[in-house]
């Protein structure tokens, strides 16, 4: 199945508000790396952002050259799924997951890019770099804890996709977060919200862990030599934090609670369907009784005079 986040970010398509001005001087460029910096001191950052944007464009063009539908053709997610081969294609499924996760990787690159593009710390020593790194991580955590939960750390989207595939298999009553169909749906949405909040908290804690481990490595003279190295460390830190949470009673209860809420929602939907079916059956039974009553009445009625005038 296509990951729901494939097209949530502009990483693989031309930013909708990109006006062709690579300097970004007239329009704010979409994406955190492209946020316009107006001061002279940050010219280097604009240079980096321009290069970044160009690389994004090149990547998108590379996909286009392979036959990807052009951006703007209806629903891009559906178009991309069709191009990959749709859900009937294993390669398509994997390709979609790959693109979704590559996006997370590139967002980490974007975050790292902001660190590298900043002017060197005034002190120029390890402490100065650490302070710069701390600032960046603080920014990442703040963004993660806000509604913009698509920052590095958002790889748990794959887990939520798996949950969505489960819910797609189960008959559920209609309704929405804004207008839940009943208490079961409200309870389900609350459980889902709690689950998502827990995952987000884990991701935020994972960033803290990564920051701490980097600081320890740096203090010991360790260095980060590639984006991939940083990504791998981040995944390790995330998995370690997740494992600590996963063994707690609260996590197990929350996970089970989500499954239970889904079951109750399904039951509520079935009850609704059963009530509707029973109502229809009762109506049909009433009609049948009425028909039988009319038939009996007709049978008991004296023969009516024929209307062909032969009497």
């Amino acid at each position: 199945m296509l990951g729901t986040r494939c097209f949530a970010q502009p990483t693989f398509r031309a930013p909708p508000d990109y006006n062709g001005d690579p300097t970004g001087s007239a329009t704010a460029v979409t994406g955190r790396a492209g946020r316009k910096r107006m001061t002279e001191q940050q010219t280097s950052y604009d240079d980096w952002a321009r290069s970044w944007l160009e690389s994004q464009q090149q990547a998108w063009q590379a996909l286009l050259r392979q036959g990807t539908p052009a951006a703007g053709l209806g629903d891009p997610e559906a178009a991309f799924a069709d191009w990959l081969g749709g859900s009937a294609s294993l390669g398509g499924d994997v390709g979609a997951r790959l693109v979704a996760q590559a996006q997370q990787f590139l967002q980490l690159a974007e975050a790292l890019g902001t660190v590298l593009a900043e002017p060197p710390p005034a002190t120029g020593d390890a402490q100065g770099w650490q302070a710069l790194l701390d600032t960046t991580f603080t920014r990442l955590r703040t963004a993660l804890e806000s509604a913009d939960a698509d920052l590095p750390g958002g790889t748990l989207g794959g887990l939520l996709d798996a949950w969505q595939q489960l819910t797609a298999r189960i008959d559920l009553p209609a309704g929405s977060a804004e207008a839940p169909a009943g208490p079961a749906q409200a309870a389900y949405l609350a459980a889902l919200q709690a689950y998502g909040t827990r995952l987000t908290a884990i991701q935020a804690e994972a960033l803290e862990r990564l920051q701490r481990e980097l600081a320890e490595q740096f203090a010991a003279g360790g260095r980060i030599g590639s984006l991939r190295q940083l990504y791998d460390l981040w995944v390790e830190a995330s998995e370690a934090v997740y494992a600590e949470h996963a063994v707690t009673a609260e996590f197990a209860a929350g996970q089970a609670g989500l499954a239970h809420a889904l079951c109750r929602l399904h039951q509520a939907g079935q009850a609704q369907a059963t009530a509707t079916r029973d109502g229809l059956l009762q109506g049909a039974a009433a009609l049948r009784r009425e028909l039988e009553r009319l038939r009996d009445e007709l049978a008991r009625a004296p023969a009516a005079p024929r209307s062909d005038g032969d009497g």
Binding site: S51, G85, L106, L156, G158, R223, E239, A253, H260, Q270
Partner: protein, 363 residues
């Protein structure tokens, strides 16, 4: 612009980062294109014949090129929660082919995909029904003599139950990555399952959707299993064979059959919540499953890095069985690596050697 130098914790600069990103994106574009080109992948490489079928179940037979009848037939019982083609994923990654190469005549139980009509199937149906009839079918082809039973993962648990209830039908028992003690401290699945209201799950859903299992399994290591794995995939994109290997594995991972509701209810309650193999409280078909009845030679293969069935969950078997001839084989790897890693090629040979060393001994 930051430059590498004293105090800078990054041994790269913006230009190097950009170069890495561009390379990554180029590989991504190429990789996605190749995935699209590859399309479907085949699994289950080894020729076989369907010997017996019943409901959704099919019993397959695989013939060795150079049979060694003295080893006796080997019946593989795979888990209900995944598809059995993991033991024969592709020609160069096939436990089954390795067993055939060792001269064993191999039979495999394929449980199929249960549907709504199978909701009422119980553990008794599976163990004393389906599995017992498969054993009977194989034994009948081999002069009525007892066979060798190889149970894998959940199929190992079912095999332990069968062998304990029908020890006269099993000459030698091999369990592979098989949970026995479901409540060891490091068993995350067990920890979660104890919180599950499985009555609610089955009463409301009937059969348990395979997608629910997928979600639970992915949740064991979500950052690796839903994230890093795909980023790492880009390292394989230059090699079409490696890409196909990845796709075969991916197909297997997400090919989770729905679970017959009643059997699932019983399994979770008995094993995960009551730990019934350990406390001896399990009953199937009105008979108590007592592992002390396992008097046949027993080889217990576990994986040292198994995150689904931790080693301790398998090793618990040692203290519960009644046989004198008990052997453990610790495979250095994980729950999946035991089939498909480079080290996995040694596994069928170890099993065959263990069987050969006991060939001819009275059951």
């Amino acid at each position: 612009m930051a430059e590498p130098g004293d105090g800078n914790p990054f041994r790269l600069d913006s230009a190097a980062l950009l170069e890495e990103v561009q390379l990554f994106q180029r590989r991504l574009a190429e990789g996605v294109g190749k995935l699209r080109e590859i399309g479907a992948v085949e699994v289950g490489a080894t020729p076989r014949e369907a010997l017996y079928s019943e409901g959704k179940l099919t019993l397959y037979r695989y013939a060795p090129a150079r049979p060694r009848p003295e080893l006796g037939p080997l019946l593989i019982v795979y888990a209900l929660v995944n598809r059995p083609y993991m033991v024969d994923l592709q020609p160069d990654r096939s436990l089954l082919r390795g067993l055939l190469d060792a001269g064993l005549e191999v039979y495999l139980v394929d449980w199929g995909y249960p549907d709504a009509g199978d909701r009422e199937l119980t553990l008794d149906s599976y163990v004393n029904g389906y599995l017992a009839r498969c054993v009977d079918t194989v034994c009948a082809r081999h002069g009525g003599r007892p066979l060798n039973l190889l149970g894998i993962c959940q199929g190992g648990t079912l095999s332990l139950c069968y062998a304990a209830l029908h020890p006269e039908r099993v000459a030698r028992l091999v369990t592979m990555v098989t949970p026995v003690d479901f409540q060891t401290p490091d068993n995350l699945l067990g920890h979660w399952a104890r919180e599950l209201d499985v009555d609610l799950l089955v009463d409301s859903l009937g059969n348990v959707p395979g997608e629910w299992l997928n979600w639970v399994f992915l949740a064991l290591k979500p950052f690796r299993l839903t994230g890093k794995k795909y980023v790492d995939l880009l390292d394989l994109c230059d090699d079409a064979d490696q890409l196909r290997n990845f796709l075969r594995m991916e197909r297997w991972i997400f090919d989770s059959p729905d679970q017959a509701g009643e059997a699932f209810r019983e399994f979770v309650k008995a094993f995960y919540q009551r730990n019934a193999l350990v406390d001896g409280s399990l009953e199937l078909g009105g008979r108590r499953v007592d592992l002390r009845a396992l008097s046949m030679p027993l080889l217990n293969v576990y994986a040292t890095e198994d995150h689904l069935v931790p080693p301790a969950a398998s090793q618990a078997l040692r203290g519960l069985v009644g046989c004198d001839d008990y052997t453990e084989y610790a495979f250095r790897g994980g729950h999946i690596g035991i089939y498909v890693s480079s080290r996995a090629r040694a596994v069928p040979g170890r099993i065959a050697d263990w069987l050969a060393a006991r060939a001819g001994s009275a059951p």
